[in-house]
Symmetry: C7
Subunit: 94 residues, 7 copies
């Protein structure tokens, strides 16, 4: 199990094409990087210069829409994952 | 439904040409990206390093004028949308 | 009517050539962007990370001199306007 | 009359060659931009993020030496002027 | 023995290919730099401008996943090591 | 007389070759800019965003060693001078 | 004697090849800049915007490992030295 640090998020990403999320259809151009995914694990939040931890809004289980070119692809146990920072997330799909 | 994070805004964008907004005509060069749109959803506001949330000025339903090259195009349920940050907004058209 | 956000200013810009402002003649090279204009609308001021709004110095009706390459051209109701930030303004012509 | 904003300075600039300032000779390479000038008007000072105005050191009437490539040339009433920020000033010639 | 400063980490890096970490298989493209490694030594934490030390989350003995292009390769006693900052770490593999 | 502002320093610079400073020989490659010089005048110190003046460490009369490419060459009364900021100074030669 | 300012360090650098430091062998590629050296003199520490001096961790006599491309080469009394900032130091070799 991977425990993200700070404001890091690990997201499992769907392939390009159309995703249905709670009845919402997200169009995703094939050649572009995925823009949605399910949060697999979330860090505790970033620590500011005042030593304060800013709680995360996003949590494991959320489906998120994020900036097109954000994150770094990683593969764990054969699963396609993306390492993001919370500031890369546009919103949560409910 | 998409719930934006932080100071994010989701704006439905009109096509180029002229928009009438409350009697105000906004000229929009065809080849350029749209500069006006209606706010579909707004985040809670950015959280500062002091852990304080800075309330948003813009809210869902407002028609806004924004910086020409701001934002990222997304398509949800076949609708042309733009993901912006509030700092990209020039003003609200009333 | 356009209500600017934050420290934004909407300025109506004169054409190149010479402007007379309260007896002051401002030379303006034809090929360059305008450097003076009348403030049509001013925002409430920028909000700092401490959540404090820094009041604006410039207000609607002022004629201002601003940095040559500042701002973004917009056209509203056929009027040539420029969207600036207050930090782009050099001074107020009185 | 031009009232500068924030930490802005308006300086009347001498031509290249040598300037005598209170007995001090400043060499000024002809091809380079002027590096000295007389302060014609000074702003109130910059406003910090804490909302505090940092008083200016330089005032109208001072002759200043400033960074070579600083400032923006403007012409008002046929007079060659330069718009600077106080942080561009190296020192005051007394 | 090397005592890292500030938020520095010294990590012993595995070769490319697959790593098994507590049953988790991390795929690692051969031609790319390693992305996982074992923390050999950790600094006390970064000191903020307020003079406060922000404690480290990562400690010696942890196996970490880090940003692909982070860190600087060093060799001590023939051992392949990488000098990282804690902000380069995505998460701890448990 | 030139009164530097903020954390500015005016340093009289020696020619390339070797300088003897209090018995210390500083090698100075001919083709490179001078790296040592005597402080002719020092500013009061930089003013922080909190409005506090950070006192200078360096004072007139000190001989200093500074970063190779720092500063701006000026000539006053035929004397070769360099305008530096205190942060460009490596140390004081005693 | 050279008294470094702020968080500056003066380090005497060994030639490329292998260094033995307290039994630790540091490999050093010949063509690259040195990465280890002995601290000859250390500054008092950097002064923050709050006017606070952040004490140094590294002191004269320590042997340090530092970032490969950090620092500026200087020669004093024929001795090869490097001027670093403490933030360039990876760790202290004990």
């Amino acid at each position: 199990m991977l425990k993200p640090l700070s404001d890091r998020l690990i997201v499992s990403v769907e392939e390009a094409g159309e995703q249905q999320v709670g009845g919402i259809v997200i169009a995703q151009a094939a050649q572009e990087k995925p823009v949605t995914g399910k949060v697999v694990a979330a860090g505790p939040g970033r620590v500011t210069d005042a030593g304060q931890t800013i709680a995360m809004t996003v949590k494991a289980g959320d489906t998120v829409l994020f900036d097109k070119f954000a994150g770094q692809a990683i593969e764990i146990d054969g699963q396609n994952l993306l390492a993001l920072h919370e500031k890369d997330v546009i919103g949560v799909l409910a």
